[in-house]
């Protein structure tokens, strides 16, 4: 029956080849995907336009002591349970969000790993999520370009381990109002620009990868 069907029209043959080629290509894609890496990054790298090439910040404690970083095999992303987004997480240790934000100039341009409760998610395109720090009110945004990674709203309340390049964006008052207005619009909330009297500096992670799971 199948052979008869295939003989009736060449399109079925073409369709079968197309689907087979698609599956074969996807298999190649999966094979080529870099394994959650147990690779060792060099101590210093030039910051390039691609955040994946940014230098990795050492653990806060060892950086402070001036001692060389402990020789630990980096955890593979597969060892972090949860749903993997983007390139996943390869750095072995997390930087405390509060420490990062209080000493942001030490981390700007560097690739870091952070973790925390997912306190909020972009409701429109799923292009960012906020991670809560240990202290009330502390949070850090993980941001990607639209479509690069898409975080579902159901990720809110879950736990994220994320890796990205720290970016500091000082805004003037006008820019501050526009950013806050845009966020309010995304959330469907009212916004009164007259309540904004001081410019803010945005600190965020330009995302490389994340792993999100139900619990810490």
């Amino acid at each position: 029956m199948l052979m008869q069907l295939l003989n009736i029209t060449p399109v079925f043959r073409m369709g079968t080849v197309a689907i087979g080629a698609t599956l074969a290509l996807s298999a190649c894609d999966e094979a080529k995907k870099p394994a959650a890496a147990a690779h060792h990054e060099p101590a210093v790298q030039k910051v390039m336009a691609n955040p994946e090439k940014a230098p990795v910040a050492n653990d806060m404690k060892t950086a402070k002591a001036g001692a060389p970083a402990a020789e630990k095999a980096p955890k593979k992303a597969a060892e972090l349970s949860g749903k993997v987004y983007g390139a996943g997480v390869t750095a072995p240790e997390s930087v405390n969000i509060g420490d990062l934000k209080s000493r942001v100039d030490e981390f700007v341009g560097k690739r870091v790993r952070v973790e925390g409760l997912v306190a909020d998610v972009c409701p429109m395109r799923g292009c960012w999520f906020n991670m809560a720090g240990e202290k009330p009110g502390e949070s850090l945004r993980f941001k990607v370009r639209d479509g690069v990674m898409v975080f579902p709203m159901s990720a809110k309340g879950k736990y994220a381990v994320a890796e990205g390049v720290v970016r500091k964006i000082p805004l003037n008052l006008e820019q501050t109002k526009r950013v806050l207005a845009h966020e309010a619009e995304e959330k469907g909330e009212q916004f009164d620009p007259t309540t904004v009297t001081e410019a803010i500096t945005l600190v965020r992670l330009d995302g490389v990868g994340a792993v999100i799971r139900d619990n810490k």
């Binding site: 999966e30 306190a119 409701p123 309340g157």
Partner: protein
């Protein structure tokens, strides 16, 4: 008619157009509906329905567990849907609700905002496919779909001949299909 007579090339053009059309019918419908939805993203959220209500309840007191229990009871939330909590600040006690919702309460004043989030049935899935949330193998399938759509367009131009074909009335429709978007582009560039 001899048994070995070859079919004209236009026969295969029509076969391709017909069968690719059948194959893509469902996906083109999904993509089109999603496209309209996403085209109006400035006016609505194409993937989620978010219902937001503001109310005031009695202030929350006690430790975090007590505040959570009070908030659930006073906001009439289903306890089974509350999956976590977070103190976002002195004035913001947040309960996370299944699916991406939240209840935000000012413990001191009792001012509360509850946001319930629901995926738009079917449309959410259409957007997942259209906007490639899945990534991986779906990217390749979507590329193959685009090639098939291109084939559909080109075969459509050459399916018929004579006064119903491209040389006849077809050329006017094809010209309109090119000149309309071109006019929008020209107007767009001239306005910049």
């Amino acid at each position: 008619m001899s048994a070995g007579r070859r079919k004209p090339w236009r026969h295969w053009v029509r076969v391709l157009h017909r069968d690719i059309g059948y194959f893509l019918a469902a996906l083109v419908c999904a993509y089109s509906i999603s496209g309209v939805a996403v085209n109006h993203i400035d006016d609505w959220n194409p993937s989620y329905r978010i219902e937001s209500t503001r109310t005031t309840i009695e202030p929350l007191t006690g430790d975090v567990d007590a505040m959570q229990a009070q908030a659930i009871q006073r906001l009439a939330l289903d306890p089974d849907t509350v999956k976590g909590r977070h103190i976002a600040g002195v004035t913001r006690f947040v309960l996370f609700i299944d699916g991406g919702g939240e209840a935000r309460v000012n413990p001191a004043t009792g001012e509360a905002q509850v946001k319930l989030v629901e995926k738009r049935p079917v449309l959410f899935e259409f957007n997942v496919l259209h906007l490639n949330h899945i990534k991986g193998a779906w990217t390749w399938f979507a590329d193959a779909t685009a090639i098939l759509l291109l084939t559909l367009a080109i075969t459509g131009l050459f399916m018929l001949r004579g006064k119903l074909g491209l040389a006849g009335r077809g050329k006017w429709f094809a010209l309109a299909g090119v000149s309309t978007p071109a006019a929008f582009l020209v107007a767009h560039y001239m306005s910049q």
